[in-house]
Amino acid sequence: MRKSILTVVIYLGLFSLAHAQNRNDSIKSRQLKEVTVTGKTGLDSINESKPLSSIDEYIQKLPKVNTIKRGGYAWEPTVNSMASERISVTLDGMKIFCACTDKMDPVTSYVEILNLDNINVSSGLGGNQHGSNSIGGGLDLKLKKAGFHSRKLNLVFNSAYETNGNYRVAGIGGAYSSPKFYINSGMFYRKSDNYEAGGSQIVNFSQFGKVNVFSNAGYKLSMDKILEATVIYDVATDVGYPALTMDVKTAKGLITSVSYRQENISNTFSTWESKVYYNDIKHIMDDTKRPNVPVHMDMPGNSRTGGYYSTLKGRKGRHNFVLSQDTYYNQSLASMTMYPIDKSQSPMFMYTWPDIRTLNVGVYAEDKYVIDLKNTFQISTRLSSQWDGLQSDFGYRTLKMYYPDMTQFQNRLLGNVSVKYTHYLKDVQLKIGAGYGTRAPSPTESYGFYLYNSFDNYDNIGNPLLKNESAAEANLAFILSKPKYSITWDASYFNFSNYIIAKPDNGFSTMTYGATGVMVYRNLSHASVFNTGLETKVLFLKSFHWVNHLTYSLGKDDNRQPLPLIAPFSYSSSLGYVRKRISAEVELQGAGKQVNFSSEYGEDKTPAYYVLNVSTGYELQLGDFSRSATLKAGIENLFDRNYSTYADWNNIPRKGRNLFINLKIKI
């Protein structure tokens, strides 16, 4: 069954390849640059104060994005204060799903910062081509590709050291470009011991190690026909999770794709890209190094996804459109074997993700209509059909005890539509948007079985009878851009129906030693999430820039009680200096007291905090233009504050004072 569906997926992919024969080489049309994203930043620009930071550190600086931390590694991104279930994280449009039932391995943990060119953040329901089940928004990680240029070979050596945790980073990358062929490959290594929180407090089980190997290659079949392929192999080993009761022995990700792209097809159609992909994530937890483990257990997880998409972009008159069809098939399988204290007894085995299968087939359409020079109107919509269920009869029998009315497989129809109107007036942009969308419950929400949440200390059981969650969104943005300064204010409001969240059920017995009780996923009749942010930028004295961010979020459930993991008022202010080859930055970052916390989900009133970071950099030219050495150094948490934020699982404290030095040599 699985094989045949994968085969179908691959055939369909080839089918769309075979049909990509429309050619019109003589006429070329220039594609309008899309501006559907709210944040787009080059990853290795000179302006980055710490170019070899982890991808996690990078992501949490993106607008509207935050990260939930369970240790020193693999932080879970959130967009608009919504976590994995409500956002989409894709890699060059590829769907990848984590293999850990306890969210130890967000998709972002299987790539390395040097794999990436940039990260597109989409906010809310609109303009997210690859977001099959997202409401809050999405991250699309764009891979770095050497591209077709004149013949050129580049080598990059990276190394970094950080005092806190004895953190070592080393990487080597090579890129070869030519007009017909390119390849870039690299290898990256990171290793950290336990870090220290402020006041030299060692945070045990916060160590990690990671090796990442990647390769991208492209070949021009003809002037406008391009074949591209990607392979990434990422292995994390001995990863500690101080906030959880278990660590990770290994987390392996193999990510592959082949795509075919045709450019300049006709006056109307600019590009047609079709991609076939497959990825396999294997995650193995480990509790053997923990002291006082009441019950030793094995918890392996596996997530495999195969899929394709085919996207056509073009322009007709004042319409700029995107049409896309995509399909993916995922298998999520995880089990738990517990070894009883009484050694004469047999091990206890169960499926925590009982071989969950998901087949999602969708279409996406987007049109940006330029009404006139001052007004644009954008509409995007997605419709998809999802089939999901349990391939494992064992798992099906297990859940059927709890839900006698459930079926082994089920179908869901999902969709969203959103509109955005933009008005340009001199230096001012005004954006008003609205949308409505639904999402299917995640595998954990539907079919997870006895997943322990160490934050609220409850075992969680999925609910296959959940209704789709839906949300209506309204958003507003005001942007003022002057040569010397800019102000951006935006706000979004999500009004949910059938909001999915776990709630205590006294009828069920716990399984995890010492757990408070059992929660079962339910639909709340309604809930709401509100986000607002203000950004100001000022340039002065030629070389200085001063950037400020203020954000505030609010989440309420159907009883007007706070939702968990909603960011309190937070701020950052950075003063930077860039002149020729020298750069420097001072950054103050902090948050107010977490007033709206959810004690039901284990949260408490996280106190206010602030930290101060300083950094400086110098770029040295080595011979010609393309050869350089960049040295960056700085101190994070200069005053060695001991603090934790609302997003720190079980309030584990963050890093104390940390001296870092990054060296990048490009030849």
Binding site: M338, I341, P347, M348, M350, T398, S509, M511
Partner: protein, 295 residues
């Protein structure tokens, strides 16, 4: 003519083919279930020949008797005609010969197995094992009206089974002795998920009389007693109620994972008076009567 020759050849082939087909079809249609077929899959415990008849004794799970519930299958052959008896009225008596006394055990009547011609079925609940000095004696009778046509006796060795507890003798609050035995799930068919649980319950009248008890309730509370599991239990179990057609107590047992389970029992009479057993609450983590399952 050449054409004609070819034609007749075809007819010949056609007839041949249909004959082959008919024969093979006929074989299928006329296939009769032999007595051997009916006993297929059963393990022979004994063959007891006495005069004109042979009693064949089988079990499903093991080739021997053990303490607790034993489902027993019987075929009876007429040695003269070599035919198996299809309308036999069979009875049996188990008797334990101890050094100073003797007693029986709970056992059922023998009835014909549905959809078979020659197979009969019943059960014993052996309440103690055989040893060098003490033995079980089972007498099988084939009767017709008031005539006894055949009798066979043997002394099978009844062993104390290895593994988990599936049978319990207890003294009830009415001062009578009771015997409760787990029939299903067996060690081989128990599974994660919902299991049909069946059991039988007998009350001892005297040393030789054990009456099946009907219209009681056997309440179940499955638990994982390992200290690491916090006495974990499963939801939506259904207590065992007497089922007339099966002549057994029947309920639903839910097991959330593999491992060692203790099925705590409370036996209540028809007036819901507790005969034996304890609710799991507060400091009581197990009932005084229970079955065990491990898989």
């Amino acid at each position: 003519m050449k054409f004609k020759t070819d034609y007749s050849k075809y007819i010949f082939l056609l007839i041949l083919a249909s004959t082959v087909l008919l024969v093979s079809c006929g074989k299928e249609d006329l296939k009769v279930k032999t007595p051997e077929d009916e006993a297929a899959g059963l393990i022979k415990v004994d063959s007891l020949k006495n005069g004109g008849y042979t009693f064949y004794v089988f079990k499903k799970d093991t080739g021997y008797f053990k303490v607790g519930y034993n489902e027993v299958y019987i075929q009876l052959k007429n040695n003269t005609t070599e035919k198996y008896i299809e309308d036999a009225n069979l009875t049996w008596n188990p008797l334990m010969h101890m050094e100073t006394m003797s007693h029986a055990c709970p056992y059922s009547a023998i009835s014909k197995v549905k959809n078979t011609n020659t197979l009969y079925k019943g059960h014993f609940i052996f309440i103690m094992a055989s040893d060098a000095m003490e033995y079980w004696e089972i007498t099988y009778h084939y009767v017709k009206g008031t005539d006894t046509l055949a009798v066979a006796t043997n002394r099978p060795y009844v062993i104390n089974p290895m593994g988990r507890l599936r049978y319990k003798r207890f003294k009830g609050s009415d001062d009578a002795y009771y015997y409760v035995a787990l029939v299903n799930p067996t060690e081989s068919n128990v599974q994660v998920g919902t299991n049909e649980i069946t059991a039988c319950l007998y009350r001892q009248k005297d040393l030789f009389t054990f009456n099946p008890v009907r219209n009681y309730t056997i309440e179940i509370d499955p638990r994982m007693p390992d200290p690491s599991m916090g006495n974990h239990t499963s939801p939506y179990n259904e207590n065992l109620k007497y089922d007339t057609s099966a002549d057994l107590y029947k309920g639903k047992l839910n097991l959330t994972m593999t491992g060692y389970w203790k099925i705590n029992l409370i036996v209540k009479d028809s007036a819901a008076t507790v005969i034996k057993g304890d609710s799991i609450k507060g400091s009581t983590t197990a009932s005084s009567i229970y079955f065990e399952l491990e898989f």
